[in-house]
Symmetry: C5
Subunit: 354 residues, 5 copies
């Protein structure tokens, strides 16, 4: 967690609007790809600079510009100049410590989202900030790292599958957000599997590592919840039609992803409650093991301590101990010991400790 805060504190003391990349995007050159389409035509190309995108911006076709690599501040600055984006928005794009949010600047919307990935080995959830700038007929998406989550969407645009080619930039925005939220389900599915593994481990062989794993996952769930919770508000505002850039006919689609967000929240809550339950079972499991240890000690000790006492009596060196001289006394004592021992065992069986 310290790491997450550290990212932000680096910028302390800078005037607002200062661009400084805080995140994992590196500083190599940004990759810019562009898809320009309408019902009939489609242009797709890799571009070198934001300048090349300008011509598409003013056309009535829908233009989707995808920028990967937030460390290339020159590109971000060019974006600000050519598309007239507010400096504070640019700052938020490169500073990846933002919460999901929607800001409405009359001629464009600025949307911040969190993409999540589950790193199986470390049992950790990694997030990546995805920013969207939505104009009347363009959408600019900005990612920290390369990834293939948007590939099926590109495929759909190319093939004209579904109604995407017939719709505007608001529908493209919807599909982008939908893709990101769908990703949450994949991560939650993996978390669910991990939970089931841990649950078995808990009963069979609980260790301090299990406890730490439970706490680590619980913390990840808390962190995830913080990423999804503000998303609800973002989508509610898109669904309610606060912005003129979202056409009324698209509201139903945003209502659909609103439902998905709620389902994600539900799954996160369920995971958290399962983890809390697992903590209880862990503690109970540990205390049961302790009880088992104690029982063995008690059984051994309570059987043999009285027997040792009896042996001790006849080990005394008194000159006058009549039993010592009796024939068979030794065997009588052995028999008595047997009876006492068997009695103890019967007592424990009765108490269900054996």
């Amino acid at each position: 967690m310290a790491a997450k805060i550290k990212k932000v504190s680096k910028k302390v003391g800078q005037p607002p609007g200062t661009l400084m990349h805080i995140g994992n995007g590196g500083t190599e050159k940004a990759e810019i790809s562009l898809i320009d389409y309408n019902k009939d035509t489609i242009v797709e190309k890799k571009v070198d600079s934001i300048e090349e995108c300008r011509e598409f911006k003013d056309k009535s076709t829908v233009t989707w510009i995808n920028i990967v690599g937030l460390g290339d501040l020159a590109v971000i600055r060019a974006l600000g100049n050519k598309f007239g984006i507010h400096p504070l928005v640019l700052e938020d794009i490169v500073n990846t410590g933002q919460r999901p949010k929607l800001e409405d600047f009359e001629n464009y919307l600025f949307i911040v989202l969190k993409m999540i990935f589950y790193k199986d080995k470390e049992g950790e959830i990694e997030t990546e900030q995805v920013s969207l700038i939505v104009g009347p007929d363009f959408v600019i998406s900005l990612q920290e790292r390369k990834g293939d989550v948007f590939n099926p969407l590109r495929e759909r645009i190319r093939n004209g599958k579904g109604s995407i080619r017939k719709m505007g930039s608001d529908y493209l925005t919807y599909t982008l957000i939908d893709t990101i939220i769908d990703n949450y389900f994949i991560v939650l599915e993996k978390v669910g599997e991990k939970l089931e593994d841990m649950e078995e481990e808990l009963v069979s062989d609980p260790s301090t590592e299990t406890l730490q794993a439970i706490h680590r996952l619980k913390r990840e769930m808390i962190y995830l919840r913080k990423s999804v919770w503000p998303l609800r508000e973002v989508i509610t505002r898109l669904e309610r039609g606060d912005s003129l850039l979202i056409k009324k006919s698209s509201h139903i689609y945003f209502r659909d992803i609103y439902d998905h967000t709620i389902q994600v929240m539900d799954a996160i809550e369920t995971s958290r409650e399962m983890l809390t339950g697992m903590l209880d079972i862990y503690l109970s499991s540990v205390s049961n093991r302790m009880n088992d240890v104690m029982k063995v000690l008690t059984i051994i000790a309570t059987i043999f301590i009285p027997l040792t006492f009896i042996a001790g009596i006849y080990g005394m060196n008194f000159e006058y101990m009549p039993e010592l001289g009796w024939r068979g006394a030794y065997f009588v004592v052995l028999f008595v010991m047997l009876v006492v021992g068997a009695g103890m065992i019967a007592y424990f069986k009765n108490k269900k400790w054996l």
Copy 2:
């Protein structure tokens, strides 16, 4: 839980409106049954295809179409075409991971509900998604699996019992929802019985299995609560008369089922609180058993350890130990041991450990 999320993640990457059945409905042919009635007449028949239902749709009589089997996508698609249902609604019908909700499309209402069943053996609660499409004079209900919950209702329509034959599609909707909510009471009653069994088990013979059963049931309650909570909102909106399809005279009936929903919520909350209390009792019960074990150990050890020490003294081989030669010393020592032992027992009795 992983299973529940998995269902949804299968669809990731598909364009919206793609029909893909996610649930337990299987893929065999859907069963469609139709009841068409008004105050005077009643027609009841099994139909093969949605097309056959069309003629009834436009008549002023109330038409109830019940479809069982969501895996038969052809029927769902036909329903969409003939009745003009939005593709996203069709998608929600076949994807059974929805939360209860109400969507108002001017000319019809789309209602998603959850039917619940208690599987006694596994101690699990199973849910089935029931969707209702409510038009001005028709109601279409869609179920995942065959079941007999709606049979008493069919009987009432046939017999004209109650006022159902005189009322419109809104009243039919009410009775359908009422039937589903009544089912919750049956499940909660069974859960209540299970709780009472577990409570007795807790005190008499608590085991790790009991603990796991408590947690399993607690989780089921959490899941149930999530099914019922949004139901409240659905019914509030029906009661408040947001939709023109619900006549003002029917509001009182929806207020009635609103009251039932609150009672269900109350019963779920009570169950949860009982389960929390049972966890406390379980832990206390386990720790009491531990105490019992410790007490036995302590009593045995503290009685015999001093006695063994005395025996040990007179087992020493010193040449000059005057007591060894005394007559009766042996019996004196035995008597001393008896007194010490009895003193210990008296002490424990006094401390109430015996």
Copy 3:
């Protein structure tokens, strides 16, 4: 709790408005008593049937009809016919699983309340549903069982004590609700006494029964809270003057009982918090006893185990053990044992274990 849900599930599958008594009222004939009064006159009589009450209904005097016994469905049905009460209201009257609520039917108010009794022996709180139907100049109260809670009120009407004879049906409603809420204070007082008893028991002699009693009482408090919480809303609506049947001059009286409701809620909350604190003290008390047991074991064992070891050494049978032959060696060893034992005791005293 199962019992409480069972009551409701009996009715599953019945059409709405079906009268079926669910509760403890039995099926014997209902007792109907009537008081009709204004400033000057008073008529009081037992009546046999609702029909006899009709003549009083239309007079401008205030008429209070008290019906005891909800199992006599004929009376309930007659009430519905003669006074024009909605079938769903009649259903709610006889089905005693309702939560406190207020329903406003333009020409009458329907109020559901819960009367509570504390059964000292079982340590349980019993509830009884009391329904009020408030018209412009009549009040009908319906109870499950006979009781004398309303007797002081009858006395006040007879004697014209207080201002009750000068006021209308709204004031009578106020006094009826006030009487019921005053009863809560009596129950809470008894619960408070029970709590104080349990608190003493906790410290002096905690047992699993105490724990179960705490949990039982906690559950009763939760249940009680659920009865009182909706009451707040009922009274707020009466106080705010939502209904024309409540005169403006009576609002101040309803504000008064609103204050009482808040005080009841406060007392319930305080009880719950005390019970939570008692759980902590119970657990700590049990663990303290365990510690006491362990300390005794430890003290006895750590004193005698080293001494027994010393005795063991001189019990060995080596041929060449010079000490054995020394005169006084025995007494030296005894003295050493005394010193070791005393040293241990001093150590424990120092550690404050003795």
Copy 4:
């Protein structure tokens, strides 16, 4: 707590407006003192009856009547008659179980407050109900018991210190409430000191008494919170200017005491959280002591049990045990025992148990 509820239940069954003192005020004669002032003049006197106060009421000067002793019902009744106070208000004045509240009767305000005192010896917080009746140019304050909290205020009026003499009855009301709230800080300061003492005790010498003291203080904090919470609302309404009796220029003063109320709430919350933390430390402290006990037992037992076993071997009486006859065998065995014992101690040192 039972005591607190009992007070209220005494009145059950009485008609509303019945005066019956419930509290600690006793029944001796009330003490009435009067201060009448404006910028220029001041009259201060003890009066015998409410009648004497009447002449001051109608003068335009500010009149402050302070009444101590709520058991003197004659005075309360006279107050009702002469100043036209509603019977329910009189009832609330003498029944000291009220929560802080503000009631607005067009020509006067009725304010209920709670004065608190910390009884150091018992570690308990005692409350006293203070009622204020605020008219256009008079304030009547009613207290249960004599006290000197208002003395500095009287002094300020006499000396004309601050702006009090230039202001109206609303400012006097403000200073009265301010004085009461200031008293909360004094109590919370004492509680804070108590908490610090308890914190030290917890670590040095935790006992069941400490646990009970924590719980008692926690309960007091809960009770205190209930007294302060509604106060917030009272002051918010005064600050917002709901009543015409509070001049606009005084709003800023009420905002000031609103801030103080929030600070009191904060301090109470902080105390509660500290107490919760102390519970954790108590439990951990007790369990640490238990661990210490167990460690001593384990160390002693694990060192001496093997040694005693060795001694036991050579205490056996077999005829043919070659070692017994060896010269120096005894010393070898003693040396072996020393090595085993030292090895055990080294092991424990290594495990950090010593």
Copy 5:
């Protein structure tokens, strides 16, 4: 905490508006520094008295007066006179027990903020109250102690870096608040590092000191949360444009720091949840150590107690014990003991206790 309340209680009984410094500011002379600037010019100087600042107040340039040292009441009083500040505001400035708040006096805004510092050695968070008085073209900032947090800001004004020189007093207010909030990130980063250290310590070597450190930090987090929570409201009101002194063009900047406040809240919540998790791990860690101790005891005792018993048998002095005379019996018994001991060890290995 007691200390924090004590500060406030000192003032009890004083009339409102009485200036009395409650805090750590000392009583030495206040240091006043002034910066007056617009786009083109800048004047910066240390001044001796508030009087010297007056001339700048009425100029249209932005004037920032920074006052350090709240114990110098003469300066505060002069500020009140020359700038027309309400006495209650002056009181709040010098009484440093305020919560963050915003008060809007038509011609100026009064803002209270909390600056925080992390004292690494003590593991404590220290707060300092910073008050801002914002007029149409001046900002007065008041601090308790000298510090260098505002130096980078002064540098920016001198260099004309960023847009600060072109903007008005509202933008200066924004940068001041931004600087203070940025400081929170620095503190939270340090807390994060501390948390990571403690987490390692927890697993490797948990002690009661660790527990106390966790609780201390948890309390600091609670206290911090109370400082930040009301800040949210302050900034929301500035962002929403409630005051005419904040220009519309500045709203976006306040929205920016609103986002930061939310991030601070998130980080505090995350820290709290981590601390709660650490408490669980601490308790589990302590209980694991206890288990280890018990296991060692059990293993040693259960191996040697039966062996000692066997030795005890052959230490008995019966005259007729045939085994004693057998040759090799001694070695057989030793072998039997070896087998029993090895069997026990195998049993423990099997149970995974070794």
